[in-house]
């Protein structure tokens, strides 16, 4: 089977190695495409690395009014084409995983393209090569079989089912991760 990207948030130790490795890339030097999110900074040290999940029906590309976000046959959803991107941030709002970044300095959207310059020639993405705890893993799916968590590609986001190319490691009893924006809003209000 082809090399696959797995994200296992339970293994993340928040070391930021992925963030800095990403910024080393020559195609976007100094700007990291990896998001390292704190789940609840006050109460927990838990962090979650977020790379592009490369959806099978990418919402970012669907909402792009400038037709700037394209997907290659290997399933990689690319960063906005600079000649077309108008910096409207539609994709930033549409992505259920919060992956695209709007950079005011360039008036462009930039996002993780799974290190296309590397993975297209058989190398591993920068973040996966440096992750010390295996939270970001790129390789044979058989290597992940030994882990307690199981990979999922299905996310129920509101009323919409999203299937991704990148696998998220979840609890063995979970098949589909159900997320609702309303739940997170309530949490924010509670915390505030």
């Amino acid at each position: 089977m082809a090399l696959t990207f797995f994200v296992d948030p339970s293994r993340c130790i928040g070391c930021r190695a992925c963030v800095h490795a990403c910024a080393e890339c020559d195609s976007h030097r100094g700007i990291s495409m990896v998001h390292l999110d704190f789940v609840d900074r006050e109460a927990s040290t838990q962090t979650v690395p977020m790379v592009c999940m490369h959806c099978e029906d990418p919402a970012c590309a669907r909402v792009c009014p400038a037709d700037a976000i394209k997907r290659t046959p290997d399933g990689v959803v690319h960063s906005a084409l600079p000649a077309r991107c108008i910096g409207c941030s539609n994709c930033v709002l549409a992505c259920p995983f919060g992956v695209p970044k709007y950079l005011p300095r360039y008036d462009q959207m930039m996002k993780c393209d799974r290190c296309y310059d590397r993975t297209s020639v058989g190398l591993r993405p920068m973040c996966a090569t440096v992750c010390p705890s295996g939270a970001l893993f790129y390789g044979e799916p058989s290597e992940m079989a030994a882990r307690r968590e199981i990979p999922t590609q299905l996310f129920q986001i509101g009323k919409q089912m999203v299937k991704t190319n990148v696998r998220l490691m979840v609890s063995p009893t979970t098949t589909t991760l159900t997320l609702d924006v309303a739940d997170f809003l309530a949490e924010v209000h509670h915390a505030g």
Binding site: P58, R62, K70, T72, P73, H78, L81, A83, R84
Partner: protein
């Protein structure tokens, strides 16, 4: 996912995307206009080369006076074999001759017996018989005029005046 018409117009997959960006289009325009400029420049250089280094026209006997009755025409080639020209006798003592290629798109112009103009049938172009100037239709430049000289009973071409 249903394939609506607008989804086909704005495909997500890189292969199906054939939209041309403004930059690509501008680059294409620049290439085309550069090619046109280069081609025109080469043609101009070729013409200048010919005018400067090709020896002047030779003198050629094209007809005898009795061969062309008043109001009729004769075809001849001058100064080269592929330059077709019309010799027309407009009056007993008057001959005129023009290159037959219309100055619009080089269709051969024709002369109808007794007419006062030359006619190009391709795009309805008319030229004055007396001096070759364009009268109507698309041509904007006069026909190249062949200089004539009548010596004895011979009509001789002595040169060409380009418009």
């Amino acid at each position: 996912m249903p394939a609506e018409r607008w989804r086909q117009d704005f495909p997500i997959d890189w292969q199906e995307d054939d939209y041309v960006t403004r930059r690509q289009f501008a680059g294409f325009l620049t290439l085309i206009s550069g090619g046109l400029f280069l081609g025109t420049a080469l043609l101009g250089i070729r013409d200048w080369w010919r005018r400067t280094f090709i020896p002047p026209a030779r003198v050629l006997r094209v007809a005898s006076v009795g061969e062309v009755p008043v109001g009729s025409a004769k075809l001849f080639a001058y100064p080269n074999a592929d330059d077709r020209c019309l010799l027309i006798r407009t009056a007993p003592e008057t001959f005129v001759a023009y290159n037959q290629a219309c100055t619009h798109l080089a269709c051969p112009v024709t002369y109808r017996r007794g007419a006062r103009e030359l006619y190009c049938p391709c795009h309805e172009g008319y030229f004055a018989l007396d001096d070759g100037r364009p009268l109507s239709g698309p041509p904007k430049r006069p026909l190249p005029r062949v200089l004539l000289s009548v010596r004895g009973d011979g009509v001789w071409a002595t040169g060409v005046i380009e418009s």
